[in-house]
Amino acid sequence: MRGIFSKRRMTLLVLVALVAVLPLVFPSGYYYRVAALVWISALAAVGLNILMGYAGQVSLGHAGFFGVGAYAVAIGPARLGLASWICILLGAAASGGIAWLVGRPILRLKGHYLAIGTLGFGVLIALVLTSEAKWTGGPDGTSVARLAVANMRISGPTAWYWISGFVLVFGAWLALNLEDSPAGRALRALHDSEIAAALGGIDVARHKLWAFVLAAVYASIAGSELALFDGFITPDTAGFLHSIELVAMVVLGGMGSVLGSVVGAALLTTLPQLLTVFVEYEQALLGLIIMLAMIFLRLGIVPGVQRMLARSAS
């Protein structure tokens, strides 16, 4: 487990290799776009995994934070004349702040009550983004100014492939570091037994809260990335369906596994892209994929594969 080939380093190595090597096999520029979308979703999923996979607390409203990050880079530059990169940070700070404020009462809830609490919270954020049309452009969305650094405009799939890839690796590194620390152990412990964790001296409420805040910041930054990459954003990015997709990514890839979150994000992002040939059938197929994945791959892909490998090794 430990040493040079600790799980932490292996995961990181695999991710770096993926980001670095994938472009070599891309047959066309279109693939940069799809891969960038995967890295962006994966960042949000890796963050949500801290909350769901480590700490075992479900959030059915997490796309709300994604939306806050997305609209921060839409509104800040256009209305307040702020630089985009500052708005990424402001969005992250706002998301973290909101999570910190609502986290304590919400995370007192358990099971289905937590599910509906987070769901309601997410729906409210989406509703605000839809209704405050003066600022957000309403249900039709709004365009987003491109990212510029030192007067250089950064846009296009290739640039965003590398940016989102780097941010994902960095985010995964932080999450893996957390996993292998007192706080990470505390989160994983309270997942199994809050009472035993508390009697081990762990401030359960506080740890849940920080996991929520971290997950919110990850989602927010992913949202900012998507908005800047696409140049356009609608309230759907903050919507219930998107929240479900994020949760499904984490569960499908494997709760608690950083690599799993990336795999889950890759599947749920690329499948609809493959299925765009059947535009008509997209929703039905998405629903079917989510159902089948949850029924048959409930343990998650990465832990499932790891278990198989471990079995064949011994």
Binding site: H112, G120, A284
Partner: protein
């Protein structure tokens, strides 16, 4: 504004609140029945409402008389409910609550997607059952169809109550809800009970959809918001409590109508969720939820 007009306005909001609330109550009731039988929070509950409305519209458009079309729609919804249990919930036996929730959400996306292909993406209307001539009560106008909705909801509650209290099968459902293992030990087929619960819930949802379509119109995607609000209503009343579900649903409808009338109609759909958050923050198990201490 003079007193009478104020009063009329108040009544108007109350009536529309009770009408919508009756639908929420039925959705919440459907949630509760499935939840009690199987611990599954069925987010596809709203799709039964959608199916009730859409199938009735489609079948009656083909020239079938409305009552027959409605019957067909209910039967179809029941079929979908049973299939949902047998094909999606049962194979996932033993999965965590979150996984089960996502499965039902996947099912709802699937059903919606299929409806969009089979029907279309337009809004549809059914004719009112007893005409559209409103009558006036203390200055408030009431649509006859509103009475159908409220009366229908009331009838369903009464019939269900009789079913649970008076019939062997109903008692078996209650027994299974109270203690699944004990129910199995005394020979109750809990699998059948669960399937039955999904069927009953689907039927309730479909009836709600048929009753309300003449007022609110329907389309392939009305289910999501209804599911969320029905869930909110059930949660307000306290998960697993049928009476609480009905009260929670009605309360939600009323608060929404008054909120939209007196405060802001933009945020009408938000009221439900603000309300759940407030209630949950104050009482983390809902208004009438079973209060229990976690045991170790």
């Amino acid at each position: 504004m003079d007193g009478f007009a104020t009063m009329a306005e108040f009544l108007q909001f109350a009536f529309s609140g009770l009408t919508v609330g009756a639908v929420y109550a039925l959705v919440a009731l459907g949630f509760t029945i499935i939840y009690n039988a199987s611990d599954v929070v069925n987010f596809a509950q709203g799709e039964f409402v959608m199916l009730g409305g859409m199938v009735t519209v489609a079948v009656s458009a083909a020239g079938i008389p409305l009552p027959l079309a409605a019957l067909f729609a209910v039967a179809l919804a029941v079929g979908v409910g049973v299939a949902l249990h047998r094909l999606a919930i049962e194979p996932a036996h033993g999965a965590s609550p979150v996984v089960l929730i996502i499965i039902t959400i996947g099912a709802s996306i699937f059903i919606r997607g299929v409806a969009q292909i089979v029907f279309d993406r337009q809004f549809h209307k059914l004719p009112s059952f007893s005409g559209d001539a409103p009558f006036v009560l203390f200055g408030a106008t009431i649509l006859p169809q509103s009475l159908w909705v409220m009366g229908g909801a009331g009838a369903i509650v009464v019939v269900l109550h009789a079913f649970f209290e008076r019939t062997i099968l109903g008692k078996a459902v209650l027994a299974a809800a109270a203690n699944r293992l004990a129910a199995r030990l005394v020979g109750i087929d809990t699998r059948l009970i669960m399937t039955l619960s999904f069927g009953i819930s689907a039927a309730i949802g479909a009836v709600a959809g048929i009753l309300v379509t003449p007022i609110t119109l329907t389309s392939y995607n009305v289910g999501t918001l209804l599911a969320l609000k029905g869930f909110a209503g059930g949660m307000l009343g306290g998960m697993g409590n049928p009476l609480g579900a009905v009260l929670g649903g009605l309360l939600l409808g009323l608060v929404e109508a008054f909120g939209a009338g007196y405060l802001s109609s933009t945020y009408k759909d938000g009221i439900a969720f603000v309300m759940i958050l407030v209630v949950l923050f104050v009482s983390p198990r809902g208004l009438l939820g079973r209060r229990s201490v976690e045991r170790v």
